[in-house]
Subunit: 413 residues, 2 copies
C-alpha cells in the first residue's frame, strides 16, 4: 500500500505539472460498453453481474471506454483541448501471472481535440516525467515509437500480403515477444504467410531508422508518406522537449488494440526483462465509434504491476514511511494528561506523532517507540507542568537534550 | 473529482499525523464474508456475481470485514496495537437518495489491541482532526457519545422490558430521526412497548449528562457501572486532548450495527439537517466472530457523501484547482521550440504549465490562457534566443514585465 500510494502520488504530480485535470467514472459500467467494441467474447475476460433490473454491469477493465462515454455525454460544453488524467482500479478476469494481476491500478493520460503530433509529444513528455519521477533514466527504459499507417502500408506493399491478412500480421508482431516460439510458428502459419513473406518480415524488423526505410523502400503509399512525415514531426517535438534521448523509432511496435490510427508507442525496459510498461498512441476514430462526435485524440495507459516489478528489480522501490516521526513518552508512566498535551501540540504542527496507548513504564515505552520507527522520543516528566520543559531523545544518535515547549516547533529542522 | 481528491488528502493527512498506516484490501470479497455475519438477506443490498468457479463475490459495502479478515490472516506477526486507516470505494445496492449513493468513498480508522478508553479517545481525536482540517468547527458539528452497556442496562432496568425486546428498542432509537413518525409508531408497536414504556423511553431521552443519570437511576447494574465509568474516563481523555468542546454525551446514540460493545459515537451537524457524518465505537468481539483471535478494537467510518453535502451547505467546499498556473505563449506563433524549452524549464521546477497545442496567433493563445485559468502567461519572442529574456504577464493585474530565463525560478514567490 505504501508503494502504491507513493506511485500514485508520482503519477498525479507528473500529470498536474503538465496541466492535466483528474477525472474518474464509475467502476461498474454497462457490459455493452465493452462487448459492442470488442465483441461478445470479451465478456469472458471481465467480471460482470446482472443487476435487479436485468442490466449487465462489468467492472471496468480499462478506462478509455469510460472516457469516451464521459466526453460524448458533455461534448458540447467541454473546452478543447480536453486534458484529462485518471488513476483507476481496473479488473481483468484472466489467469493471474507475473506482471498481470486480476485487480490493478492504471494511470491514463488523454489529450483530446488536437490533430498535430505536438499532442502525441505532450503525452510522451508526461509519461517520461512520470518515469523520471520514480527514479528511472534513459539507461533503464526507452520509449519505442512507430506509426500504424506506416506499418500498415509496409506490411501490405513490402511484404505484399492482402489487406485482410494485415491484422493477422499485426497480431503476430505484437505477440512475438510474449508467446513461446511454437505458438508463434503456429500464428505465422495461421496468418497464411509464405516463406518469402516471413523472410521479408524478418528483414523489415531489422530496420532501425526512418532514413533506412526511405532508402530501402522506394514506393511511397499514402500511409507510408503520412506515417513517415508524422514520425519526423513527432521526433522534432520530442527533441524540442529535451527528451529525445529517451525515445527511439521501432518498426516492430504495433499495440494490440485495433483502435490506434497514427503514432503508437510503448515504454520498455532496456534489458528486455519485462512486458511493456506503458502503451499509448493516437486513436482519432475511437470517440466517434463510441458514440461521440469525431475528435482527434491520443493518450497512454500505464499499470502499476510491471512498473512495480521493474522498480523492485532496480532497487528503486522506496522504503515504507515511518508510521510516526515522533513518540511522546511519560517519564513516570503516570502523567498522561501532560503526554496528551504534547501529542496535541506536535500533531497540530502537522508532525506525525504516536504514544504508548497501553501506558507502562518508560523502558516499555522506549521499546514501543523503537518498534514504531520513531525518529525522536519526547520524554515528559514533572518538569513539563513546573517549567514547561521536556527531554528530546534522537533515536538514531541516542543523544538527549532538554527543550522548552515552545522549542518543539523547531524540532526536525 | 477535485473535491473528492481534496477530501481524501485531508483524511490521509489526519490519519498520518496520528501515526496510522494506510492499508487496503481487494474490492471483491467472498459474499459469505457479509452473509455469515448479517444473514443471507444482506446479499439483496450488495452487488455480487458468481465467478467461473462458482464462487460468489461481492463488491465490498464497507471495509471492516476486510480489516478483520486481514488481521486474522497475519495476527501472529502484526505488532500491537494495530493502527490502520483505509480510504476505500464501497458499493451498496439500495435506492439512491440524498446522502446515500450506490458508489461512495469511506474513510476508516481502526485501532486494534487496546482495551482502555484512551484508544476510543485517540480515534475520536483523529476524527476531529479530520473535521477541523476541512474547515468545520464545534459550532458546525458535534461528536455525540454514548456507551452500549449503559444504554442496554438502562433500557432493561429503567424501561423494564425483556432482554429480547432490547434490540427492537435499540433499532427504534437508532431510526427515530431517520423515518417518518408513522413508521416510528409502527416500530414502537412492533417492539411490544406498552404506554408506560414509551413514556419512560421519552423521559430517558431527555437526560443530558452522566450526573443526571446517576441522580435519577438509583440501581447500578454491571452494564450501567461499566458504561458510566468508561464514559467518565473517555471524557477525561478527550479533555486532556483539548477536544472536549467538540464532544457531548448523548443517551440517544445507539449505532445500528450489532457489533458494538462499549462506547459508541456519531458526528452530527448541529443544525440537524443531515444524517450522521461519522459513526464509530468499540467492537471488542467482532474480530473473534470473523475468525481472528479475540482482540479489543475500536474505530470509525466516515463517508464522502454526507460530509460533501454539509461542506457544500456551509460554503466550505474548496474551489477546484486551476488546471495550470503557468501558460507559455509564442509571440509570433512560430517559435515553438523556444516555447517548449520554457515549458520544460517550468515543469522541471514542479510548476504546472500549459501551452496552446494548436498554435495560432498571440491573442488566440491569450484567450486559451485565460480559459485555462492561468495565473501567469510567459510570452516567448525573439529575445529568448538572442538574450535569454521573455515577458511575464500577471493575468490578474494585467501587469507585464521582462524577466531572464534564470529569473523564472523566482516566479510566484
Amino acid at each position: 500500500m505504501a508503494f502504491r500510494q507513493w506511485l500514485v502520488d508520482r503519477w498525479r504530480e507528473a500529470s498536474r505539472r503538465a496541466g492535466f485535470v483528474e477525472v474518474d467514472g464509475p467502476e461498474l459500467e454497462p457490459l455493452e460498453l465493452y462487448t459492442e467494441k470488442s465483441g461478445p467474447q470479451i465478456a469472458e475476460q471481465l467480471y460482470w453481474l446482472q443487476d435487479k433490473s436485468g442490466r449487465k454491469l462489468a467492472l471496468r477493465p480499462e478506462f478509455t471506454p469510460t472516457l469516451a462515454r464521459m466526453i460524448a455525454a458533455r461534448q458540447a460544453s467541454l473546452p478543447e483541448p480536453i486534458r484529462w488524467f485518471n488513476i483507476s482500479r481496473c479488473f481483468r478476469y484472466e489467469r493471474a501471472q507475473k506482471g498481470r494481476l486480476r485487480e490493478f491500478f492504471q494511470w491514463n493520460v488523454d489529450l483530446v481535440g488536437v490533430e498535430g503530433e505536438i499532442a502525441d509529444a505532450e503525452c510522451i513528455s508526461v509519461a517520461i516525467d512520470g518515469l523520471r519521477s520514480v527514479g528511472l533514466t534513459p539507461q533503464d527504459v526507452q520509449v519505442r515509437i512507430n506509426d500504424r499507417r506506416l506499418l500498415h502500408d509496409l506490411v501490405k506493399t513490402y511484404l505484399d500480403v492482402s489487406e485482410d491478412a494485415v491484422p493477422r500480421v499485426f497480431a503476430l508482431l505484437d505477440k512475438r515477444d510474449k508467446v513461446p516460439p511454437e505458438a508463434l510458428s503456429q500464428m505465422v502459419a495461421d496468418a497464411g504467410l509464405e516463406p518469402q513473406h516471413r523472410e521479408r518480415l524478418e528483414r523489415l524488423l531489422t530496420w532501425q531508422s526512418l532514413g533506412e526505410i526511405e532508402q530501402v523502400v522506394s514506393f511511397r503509399t499514402p500511409g507510408e508518406q503520412a506515417g513517415l512525415a508524422a514520425l519526423r514531426r513527432l521526433f522534432g517535438f520530442l527533441d524540442a522537449y529535451g527528451i529525445a534521448d529517451w525515445c527511439k523509432f521501432d518498426i516492430g511496435i504495433v499495440r494490440g488494440l485495433a483502435y490506434y490510427t497514427g503514432p503508437v508507442w510503448e515504454v520498455h525496459d532496456l534489458k528486455g526483462e519485462f512486458r511493456a510498461i506503458f502503451g499509448g498512441g493516437r486513436y482519432d476514430r475511437l470517440l466517434a465509434e463510441l458514440g461521440a462526435k469525431p475528435m482527434p485524440a491520443c493518450g497512454f495507459g500505464c499499470g502499476d504491476v510491471i512498473l512495480g516489478l521493474l522498480l523492485e528489480e532496480r532497487g528503486l522501490r522506496p522504503q515504507a514511511e515511518r508510521p510516526a516521526e515522533y513518540f511522546v513518552a511519560s517519564a513516570d508512566g503516570e502523567n498522561w494528561a501532560d503526554v496528551l498535551r504534547v501529542v496535541r501540540l506536535l500533531r497540530d504542527r502537522n508532525l506525525s506523532t504516536q504514544f504508548d496507548l497501553k501506558g507502562g513504564n518508560l523502558s516499555r515505552q522506549m521499546k514501543k517507540a523503537a518498534d514504531a520507527g520513531a525518529r525522536y522520543v519526547l520524554i515528559v516528566g514533572k518538569d513539563l507542568a513546573q517549567a514547561g520543559r521536556l527531554t528530546v531523545r534522537n533515536m538514531q544518535s541516542g543523544v538527549q537534550r532538554e527543550v522548552s515547549l515552545e522549542g518543539l516547533a523547531d524540532l526536525g529542522k
